[in-house]
């Protein structure tokens, strides 16, 4: 198992480097002249030259890449061109909100998906099952941003129970929580559709296995068998899917922040696009991509922990 762990870790680090290379290449090589992209076509020659100096654009490309990576590893992501402050500061300021949203979104997703998926499997071929299947099919087709708009129209415009968007800051914790309710629900509803389906099929697979029959034969109630025997075993393949879902989570968080005007990293990215702030976009994209890669890596490790059969194998 140690060998497997080592290989996987090396693979992880390598992937991160390749990803960073791709990001760097796209942001620096494709535009031809980043300075021109940032300042636009009307910029004067002097302004362009000054910017090129500032961003060390005259150095050879490999050197710039290595500089960037080296600085990034020490926490220095450069200066945002449009905000005129270090990128790290901007990120630190908005990170808590994004993390709160992503975390609660993922939590709610998992709870919903597991509950619905297991119930559907337990009610196989009966109304509960078809209902969940139908809902999940719908959930997959539903755009998150449209669902958000519908939720806002119902809960904010019509009923006025919750705010339609924006974030009031952390000074009033209850108001802050209220502002995050609809975004979290919107995020979770769409994501749980896929996960519920996977949970259901995984649970159905497990339910057919012999040890479930043993558990029934030993007098355990259907409930106990379902939640204590089926679910833990069904989780193993689900964990992989959860890992893959991180990519969707990242996308979803960015979209939801924009729908609800939440001042997190997702909105920051869009402001940076509007401002053609390449260094900022570069840093943020790298950050998000790194999160996705890291999440997948952690999921792989988690797999080893959960399934005792793997410990003895590789």
């Amino acid at each position: 198992m140690g060998y497997f762990l080592l290989r996987r870790t090396i693979s992880f680090i390598l992937t991160l480097f390749v990803v960073s290379a791709v990001v760097f290449a796209v942001m620096n090589i494709l535009p031809g002249d980043p300075a021109l992209t940032i300042l636009g076509l009307d910029a004067t020659e002097d302004a362009l030259a000054a910017l090129r100096e500032e961003l060390s654009l005259n150095d050879p490309i490999m050197l710039r890449y290595l500089h960037w990576v080296w600085d990034a590893l020490r926490g220095d992501f450069g200066i945002s061109h449009s905000f005129r402050v270090p990128v790290a500061d901007l990120v630190a300021e908005r990170l808590p909100l994004t993390i709160s949203l992503a975390f609660s979104g993922m939590l709610l997703t998992i709870i919903l998906a597991l509950a619905l998926g297991i119930s559907a499997a337990a009610n196989h071929r009966m109304s509960g099952d078809w209902g969940v299947m139908f809902l999940s099919q719908l959930g997959i087709a539903l755009p998150a941003f449209w669902l958000s708009i519908l939720l806002v129209m119902l809960f904010a415009v019509k009923l006025r129970w919750l705010p339609p968007g924006g974030f009031p800051g952390y000074s009033e914790p209850w108001a802050a929580v209220r502002a995050l309710i609809l975004p979290t629900v919107a995020l979770a509803l769409v994501q749980s559709a896929v996960l519920a389906r996977v949970t259901r099929s995984s649970a159905l697979e497990v339910m057919r296995l012999d040890y479930i029959r043993t558990a029934r034969a030993i007098g355990f109630s259907r409930q106990r068998v379902l939640w204590r025997h089926v679910l833990p075993n069904a989780l193993i393949p689900i964990v992989t899917i959860v890992g893959l879902q991180f990519a969707a989570l990242v996308t979803g968080t960015i979209v939801i922040e924009n729908v609800f005007y939440l001042p997190g990293l997702g909105r920051l990215i869009f402001q940076s696009i509007a401002n053609r702030d390449l260094p900022l976009v570069q840093a943020l994209v790298m950050l998000f991509a790194a999160i996705v890669v890291t999440a997948n890596f952690i999921v792989d490790l988690l797999y080893l922990v959960i399934d005792p059969r793997l410990k003895t194998r590789s």
Partner: protein, 272 residues
């Protein structure tokens, strides 16, 4: 006809509707979707304007029709390009095997670290948002998906008896791939393609909503929704129609894909 699964039939119906309307919009729409008529803005549904008008007096129905065209074109183009590259890579990997296979698949996997949105953001920051950006971003994520499907299916074909026979007879790997492997992986690839169409439409809508896809005046469902969001208090109905269209299109392709899968792989159909 009775033997065909329900989801296949419903899927085909929805897809037919959307694609048909998109094609129709090329030659006819009830009104010119760009025609402004501020005086009759926010008009309710009427025989004249089947779904009413928007904030600039434009006919909503015509806009939806033209936007359908946009979604369909982006989805088809992106999936074909991404799928074409992906399938080629997958076939290459399966045909050559060994280190080349590992390397190619690893390369394809890098794309998994970049969700479509993230890639689109990068491209939009560099080139400015446009339809092309959306197409490229969506195509990009399709490459590893198709590479995986193609490689897995191709590897199975390579172990078949008739392929051994062909190799023994001196047939080259390229010829075998073209004549034996490709026809036999068509089914899973097509199934995957329909599902990717669904995903592509959803992705395109999200990108347009965020302003990263088709730019005005080209209409798109996503952007119609983003405009409608600011008008929620005045005209809630404008936020409903484009969304329904998106759901219809995505659901259609998604059900169609499921149905095709049930048809071509009956083993899986039994326990869905």
């Amino acid at each position: 006809m009775k033997r065909l699964p329900v989801n296949f039939l419903i899927g085909t119906a929805f897809v037919g509707l959307v694609v048909g309307v998109a094609a129709l919009s090329l030659i006819w729409t009830p009104h010119d979707h760009t025609l402004l008529n501020i005086r009759s803005k926010f008009a309710p549904a009427s025989p004249e304007h089947w779904l009413g008008t928007d904030q600039l007096g434009r006919d909503v129905f015509s806009q939806l029709m033209t936007a359908a065209r946009n979604s369909v074109v982006v989805a088809l183009t992106a999936v074909f390009i991404g799928g074409g590259i992906g399938v080629s890579l997958g076939l290459l990997a399966a045909a050559i095997g060994g280190l080349v296979e590992d390397f190619v698949m690893r390369l394809a996997d890098i794309s998994f670290a970049f969700p479509t949105l993230l890639f689109a953001i990068m491209l939009a920051a560099v080139f400015g948002p446009s339809l092309t950006v959306a197409v490229v971003a969506i195509a990009f994520i399709n490459i590893p998906v198709f590479a995986r499907v193609a490689r897995a299916s191709a590897n199975q074909i390579w172990t078949r008896e008739y392929v051994y026979a062909a190799r023994a007879a001196g047939m080259g790997r390229f010829a075998i791939t073209r004549d034996h492997v490709l026809p036999n992986i068509a089914a899973p690839v097509i199934v995957q393609a329909t599902i990717e169409f669904a995903i592509a439409i959803l992705a395109e809508a999200a990108l347009s909503y965020l302003g990263l896809g088709a730019q005005p005046p080209a209409p798109s469902w996503g952007r119609m929704l983003s405009e409608a969001q600011t008008l929620m208090y005045l005209a809630p109905q404008l936020a409903i129609y484009p969304g329904l269209c998106i759901v219809l299109a995505v659901l259609g392709f998604s059900l169609l894909g499921d149905g095709l899968r049930d048809i071509t792989d009956p083993r899986l159909a039994r326990e869905r």
